[in-house]
Amino acid sequence: MTELQLSDAGPGTPAPLLSIDDLHVDIASRERTVHALDGISLDLAPGEALGVVGESGCGKTMTALSVLGLLPPGGAVTGGRILFDGQDLAAASAPTLQDVRGNTVGMVFQDPLTSLNPTMTIGAQVAEPLLLHREGIGRKEAWARAEEMLRLVGMPQPSERMKAYPHQLSGGMRQRVAIAMALVCEPKLLIADEPTTALDVTTQHQILELIDNLRRTLGMAMILVTHDLGVIANRVDRVAVMYAGKVAEQADVRDLFARPRHRYTEALFAALPERAAERGTELHTIPGLPPSLTVRPTGCRFAPRCLFATEECREREPELGPELAQELVPGSEASPGSETSLESEAPAHELVGAEHRFACFHPVPHGDAPEAQVVTPPPATATEPGEVLLELDALVKEFPLTGGPFARRRGTVSAVGGVSLTVRRGETFGMVGESGCGKTTLGRIVAGLEEPTAGTVRFDGRDLAGLSRTERRAHRRRIQLMFQDSTAAMDPRMRVGEILREPLVIQGVGTRADQERLTAGLLDAVGLPRGAVHRYPHEFSGGQRQRLGLARALTLSPDLVVADEPVSALDVSVQAQILNLMRELQHDRGLTYLFISHDLAVIRHLADTVGVMYLGKLVETGPAEQVYAAPLHPYTRGLLDTVNVPDPAVAAAGDREPLHGETPSAAKPPSGCRFRTRCPLAQDVCATTEPPVSTPNGAGHQVACHFPLAAPRLASRV
């Protein structure tokens, strides 16, 4: 009935498929109760794609889990309704819920490895929902349908894969299995909870494409939960921005990105490195952290961090609602209908809750582009590149390959396959690449944590292999490593004071009083209170721990800091704080960074020089602007085209050529050019000869490719 009305695209509001109404969820543990969701209301039309976005702890995942009654232990719906197809799932009995789960609502989770049963075959797991929900279906038919589904999700050789186990597949293939499992009963709604967060950029793109296509073919509605504004910009019709257990703003995706109204949304966009107009500018940050939800805050939950908050915000809670009449400028193009009606085929579902709603007393005024406000003028130009500080020459690192935990050595993994590069004093060298490309190994070799299999590392003109034991020990001071996860990198039984002093103690620098003075100064520099020395690492938040990690790396006043994914585990707003801090300290202390990251936007924001690695090879290196604006290597270009840009307009432009396929195993790298198996330009010569390094774009910009891209593109959007 409703479906008929839908396809009509006529006027009138179709009944929503899912209607969440004033949902409250508490998570109780022994010590405290967290009010994870505090009055969430969302509507979803049949066939519509809704994005739920927010930082960690905002309640986006709880929203997704509560629909199917999959809340973690201690979690319970304490109020509100979840109407799905006329049924209140919040109050439904266990059998009713079981009937919905996997049948009319499918769900995909974040980690494709842990969310599959390790001891069951792929076939058995994909066929399982059919056996549960399709009465009378035989095992044989269920398996045939499961195989068909695997083919549909793009699994190569599906009939063989049916008998495989999850650990035999790559991450991307596992996520395809998870999607097949969720869709095998052809649900009306797919809930995807961070479905691509654990995956690499190229795989992420392929999975999102797949979900997109299947959604269209099967006519499903979807809720896509993610922290990634880039993902949300490209894949949904409508977005709900969540903050501290509430919906802060919801709107059509283009409308939201073009004209955010809530001050939180605005600040979130501004913190994105992609939005910083120029490399080297300071990022906009959001001060503070989201409130802990053990007590219900009074007033607007964002007020303590909001630059525009007034007394009213702190006392009264703003309601989520459409533009108030008196604020509407007559004929404003921001009225939701006008923008979408330009589209030739406005889907009917945009009529459900498509209006722009936000919960803010002092919204961003109309016509204000968010960038105009937040971009601060660039600081003094980056320091002039100095002399060569670090020089890598034909660096090779191979690891023995053992098949599983017990088997013997069966070959080698070529983690780094001959990399040469130079890093100059005072610059930031950004090394970018997907997981397994060898960038972390490279960083560890530079930091002295791994010995290279071949090749040389020259630091400040000296070959490190030629150092004596004592020289080596002293040399340690000059290169320090900043870890991705400072929690793991700090002894949980030491207080912060001891952790920060440890490098000085080891190197025998100064008296205890000197050391304490020095650590106090470092805490000031990274913006932490001096009292922190008495506390343990676990008492700090993720961002604060990264500050501590940076402080420790700086204790010995190194020349070079190798930073391995230092902001990957952080939320956007906190990430911006750390990036700004790193830049500031570099400026003040004349540091050189070797900054390793998978995140193209972060690298672009911070780096002077960029290196791109693929499967152990440095495929391209050069000044950041040049590499991003005019990539020479097909891989670099593909990577730039694959990244999800947090701007719906870019996605719509459609002139992008994303990467296909999967990275081959580093145990058996392709002959010749390692990228040739995925390269659109590959010729016979690529398989036989390793590509030479050339500089078609000027001396500083090197590429290792037989057919470097001739025509520079206008500009990258990352």
Binding site: P287, L289, E502, P503
Partner: protein, 304 residues
């Protein structure tokens, strides 16, 4: 709680994140979890009571425990002021339990501690060095573990006449294997932790890694295992006694009292059997309760 919060609450500097909420100190949390565990508390209470019984008891309840008096043999409880009757050699049962308790507890504690100490060092060395050294050292423990402890104990006890010291040594000689394996596993994983790598980055060496980072972080496991070792050692003493290989009279332990009582199963002399048997069960259970509680407490400590 409030005192911890007030002394460590940091000043929030403007422009950066709010400091994490003050949490109670690690030691306090560990203690909280431990005392929140009812079984663990039961264990502590039981152990204290048994210790008081064995060591303070004889001062308050004086009985003849060196000379036998066969005229007083096998008296049933309550007779002639013998609260739990007398043994087949005429010793007062309650007094005998006290003396025997001292032996059982002392051997158990000494053997358990000795085994833990040696096993920890062995395991730490094996795990820290890894590779070939580790493989060789672990095959030795494999071989020693392959011969069931009871068989090894009986053979050794049959060769050497047991005294208290000998019992401690031979029980420790079979009991060290389990802490060794456990600590080795810990050391293997700890030496690859990022904070050990971070320390190497600063130029720190192996000794610092072992004593500043690996041992302190493995100490929880060691302490927990030690309580289990003590419990097992007390069980071993009783098994040896049952197999007729305990310290010869007039000294006694709970195991030898129990096995002496077995002879009289048919006669219905229950007081010879149940008191020492229950004493063993209680002391072993007490150590296990404590160990289990400690394990939970240490786990919380590491998880956060």
């Amino acid at each position: 709680m409030t005192s911890a919060a007030s002394t460590t609450a940091p000043v929030t500097a403007p422009g950066h994140e709010e400091a994490a909420q003050a949490t109670p100190s690690l030691a306090r949390r560990t203690l909280q979890v431990f005392t929140g565990n009812k079984l663990a508390l039961t264990g502590v209470v039981l152990l204290v009571l048994l210790l008081l019984f064995s060591y303070l008891g004889p001062l308050l309840y004086d009985t003849e425990q060196t000379h036998t008096d066969l005229s007083q043999a096998n008296l049933s409880p309550g007779t002639d002021g013998h609260l739990l009757g007398t043994t087949d050699l005429g010793y007062d049962m309650v007094g005998r339990l006290m003396v025997a308790g001292q032996t059982s507890l002392e051997i158990g504690l000494a053997a358990g501690l000795l085994a833990t100490l040696f096993g920890t060092v062995y395991g730490a060395v094996s795990g820290y060095f890894g590779g070939w050294v580790d493989a060789a050292m672990m095959r030795i423990t494999d071989a020693a573990l392959a011969i069931p402890a009871m068989f090894l104990l009986v053979v050794v006890a049959a060769i050497i006449t047991p005294t208290k010291g000998v019992l401690i040594l031979i029980i420790a000689a079979v009991a060290w294997l389990s802490p060794a394996r456990l600590v080795r596993g810990e050391a293997l994983s700890l030496r690859n932790r990022e904070y050990v790598q971070a320390m190497r980055m600063m130029g720190g060496g192996g000794a610092r890694a072992v004593f500043k980072h690996i041992v302190p972080n493995a100490i929880g496991t060691v302490i927990v295992n030690c309580t289990f070792q003590i419990a097992d050692a007390i069980l071993y003493v009783s098994y040896l006694a049952f197999l007729g290989l305990s310290i010869p009279p007039p000294s006694a332990d709970w195991g030898s009292m129990l096995s002496a009582g077995i002879t009289y199963t048919q006669n219905g002399y229950w007081w010879l059997i149940f008191p020492p048997g229950i004493a063993i069960v209680l002391v072993v259970a007490a150590f296990n309760f404590i160990g289990d509680g400690l394990r939970d407490a240490f786990e919380v400590r590491l998880r956060k």
